[in-house]
Symmetry: C2
Subunit: 450 residues, 2 copies
């Protein structure tokens, strides 16, 4: 399969067909194009063209296109559709995707759109989903699932299941509930292919079933599903009633977003931004961290101002401040990144004390190797062994302290319930810059006896 | 579902049961424990205990446990098992997991282990898989899949499918092939539940099917599967024959590893290390980047040495070198991270030139705001407006240059086929440190006329 590639020529051709209103040619051209690729095309068209394309194609395709569009493009297109047209799109979508789109609509029209949905059960399900916090299992789940009552026979179960399966894109598992809708267990599709139809469900279902609570955090759901290799997980409410189902494709997005967020925080970018966002959005995401860096730099300048009297005798010390600051920052970022990743994957065992001792040895080892190189360089360059020794000893000390700060900070934040990912990047770099320079000049002053 | 939590007490209890050889109690205790959790337990036991536990439990459970173990623990346990015992474990696994384990075994025993596998077809499949590069679709795929011939009737298809489904944990899709085993299309399970059994397959299958080539890179497979929301994708060889299938759970691991690798590179950690690795492994992963940082620092020191004559008149300039270096590093990391992420997600459009112009405006805007703050701080602190102005103008210039380097480098590396993720982190920080300080002192010299 050669992945679809959106070329300038294709985009041009589509835009021209739209402008010339060549509806049949357009429909023909788009027939074989996957909805995710139609979304890619619509993202690049202007608002009027994109809206025309969405209105032209069948809603069983365009509904999926809508879920894949960039948020601003979707908003613009939905603005140009009537409530009835939006309702037709939502009718084609799974309840979770439909609820996500409704949550983005202006409040005034939500009620009208919902009232235009012909399938009243679908509408009820969507309304149910709107109540859940976006950042919870309830906010991720869909209402589409196949469930059977434990008191049914396999025969009745197969019949009911066929009817339900009509509305469910991917079946995965058949969930078994009791008369109060409480989740009791599951039936696999494979069992169904091989079991005789005369058995009662009670005797054939598997009582062991993984599930999550509606209030569970998406990251936790992702951890459970990927640890236990699940492709779908049922969601229950506070009293154990089956209320929905989360499938792995939604969780893939959670994993990706989580990883991207940590990466962006480490790089000093807050908010979820992309390269194609406006300069204004990018500035809002980047400037606060740069400002933090500026404050750190001003702090470092102030500290160095306090050691100004050393400049006449030991100017060389000042030449090495960028080196000391950079090493403190690098070591801090390295050690914090390893801890943050360990916390994210839930595979940190043992006490904080042991971690700090290990990091200390690690930093001592790294610091020693680097300090020897620095010692010889400085000694040969400027010829004063004592100064070179003072700078090298400072480097080891700074690396050890930076490693300890880098290890301790994320562990501490995690203990206090704060996302440790903020501890990597500019935050740790800046504080390590200041500590590093303070330690450096203090040690130099002590050793050189100024 | 409350996720399983491995406590010290539970671990203690299990270790004691093993040491006292209380087999029945152990079996009872472990019966309800998921294999992924048994692996967590075995990772924490000593080698002798872990081996005992694996030998005690049924191989339909322990085979899955083996796939989840830490690599070093698995190696130790397999060392203590006979070829026959290993073969029994492999017999229970899907071909892809079995091949992964065989690839880790010492060469001398591979042949013996394979000859001990009773199911000869299973053994043949495993041997087939060993031929593929680990870093390709072929290395990810399993041989387990359900396929039917286009010339069969639906009735025969259902029969054959039932037999095949016995060996396939999750069916997902039924693939349709011709007499030469070439992939023609697919049947959905849902279709199967609702189609009459008298039709020939030729008339009912869906000819549109996504697939990947055996040589496709895992990252590309991940992109295709997550873009098109696929839960499984068939793999074909160079002449279009269906040779295997990749399922989404393997791809979740690829996505996670990819994200972690980029994050670690950005943090200056090469190789795939974890917090629990040995100090030696961690040093090997961290020291090279620190050494790069050291070289950068030495370069910065040498540059500053070249401006030594300025120190008597404008000592204040030297106080701001950490600030300049830090800002250059931060801006570089921010802009490169956004580009790296955009490249990873395949959503960068437009030319390199446009990106650089955008980044220049962005950097100018951010730089201007920060420079104004710096100007007033320096002016009030040291009272010389011209020096303060020189430092501030340098800051803006350095930020713009750092932003351009940060944007250009990953785009350039990507064009040359090199992983752009190495451009974030220490690499960009170090080069920006040097450029930043060089620009800073040059501009200061020009403006202050020394």
């Amino acid at each position: 399969m050669t992945p679809f590639k959106l070329t300038e020529e294709l985009l041009q051709e589509i835009a021209e067909l739209i402008d010339a209103r060549k509806d049949d040619d357009l429909r023909d051209l788009m027939k074989e194009v996957h909805f995710a690729d139609v979304a890619e095309i619509a993202n690049e068209l202007n608002e009027e063209q994109a809206t025309y394309l969405i209105k032209l194609l069948d809603s069983d395709k365009t509904s999926d296109v809508l879920t894949e569009l960039d948020e601003d493009v979707r908003e613009a297109i939905l603005n140009n559709l009537s409530s009835k047209e939006i309702a037709e799109e939502l009718a084609e979508l799974d309840t979770d995707d439909a609820a996500d789109i409704i949550a983005e609509l202006p409040k005034e029209i939500v009620q009208e759109v919902i009232s235009e949905i012909e399938d009243r059960e679908h509408a009820r399900h969507i309304v149910d989903l709107l109540r859940y916090d976006e950042n919870s299992a309830g906010g991720l789940m869909a209402k589409e699932l196949v469930k059977v009552n434990e008191n049914w026979t396999v025969l009745r179960c197969v019949k009911e299941m066929r009817a339900q399966a009509e509305n469910v894109t991917r079946v995965h598992s058949i969930y078994v509930v009791d008369d109060e809708d409480k989740l009791k267990g599951r039936l696999s599709l494979k069992d169904l292919l091989t079991t005789s139809t005369t058995n009662p469900i009670k005797d054939v279902y598997i009582p062991q079933v993984d599930f999550v609570n509606v209030n569970e955090k998406p990251e936790e759901v992702a951890k459970i599903m990927s640890k236990y290799d699940l492709e779908a997980i049922p969601v229950v409410d506070e009293i154990g009633r089956l209320v929905g189902r989360i499938t792995i494709d939604d969780i893939v997005d959670v994993i990706r977003e989580e990883a991207e967020k940590d990466y962006q925080l480490a790089a000093g970018i807050s908010q979820d931004v992309e390269a194609d966002d406006s300069i204004w959005i990018l500035t809002r995401a980047r400037l606060p961290w740069l400002f933090l860096g500026l404050l750190g730099g001003l702090g470092a300048a102030a500290i160095m101002g306090g050691f100004e009297e050393m400049i006449s005798k030991h100017a060389i010390l000042f030449f090495f401040t960028p080196l000391i600051a950079a090493m403190a920052g690098n070591v801090g970022v390295q050690s914090s990144a390893i801890i943050v990743q360990g916390l994210a994957n839930d595979d940190l065992k043992g006490s904080i004390g042991n971690r700090l001792i290990k990091e200390m040895f690690l930093a001592l080892l790294n610091g020693f190797v680097l300090a020897v190189v620095l010692l010889f360089f400085t000694w040969f360059w400027k010829g004063t062994f004592v100064t070179a020794l003072a700078i090298s000893i400072s480097l080891i000390t700074v690396i050890v302290v930076a490693g300890i700060i880098g290890t301790f900070t994320p562990l501490f934040l995690h203990k206090r319930g704060i996302d440790p990912a903020i501890a990597t990047g500019p935050f740790i770099t800046t504080s390590n810059d200041i500590f590093g320079i303070l330690i450096y000049f203090t040690i130099a002053k002590l050793l050189l006896g100024i």
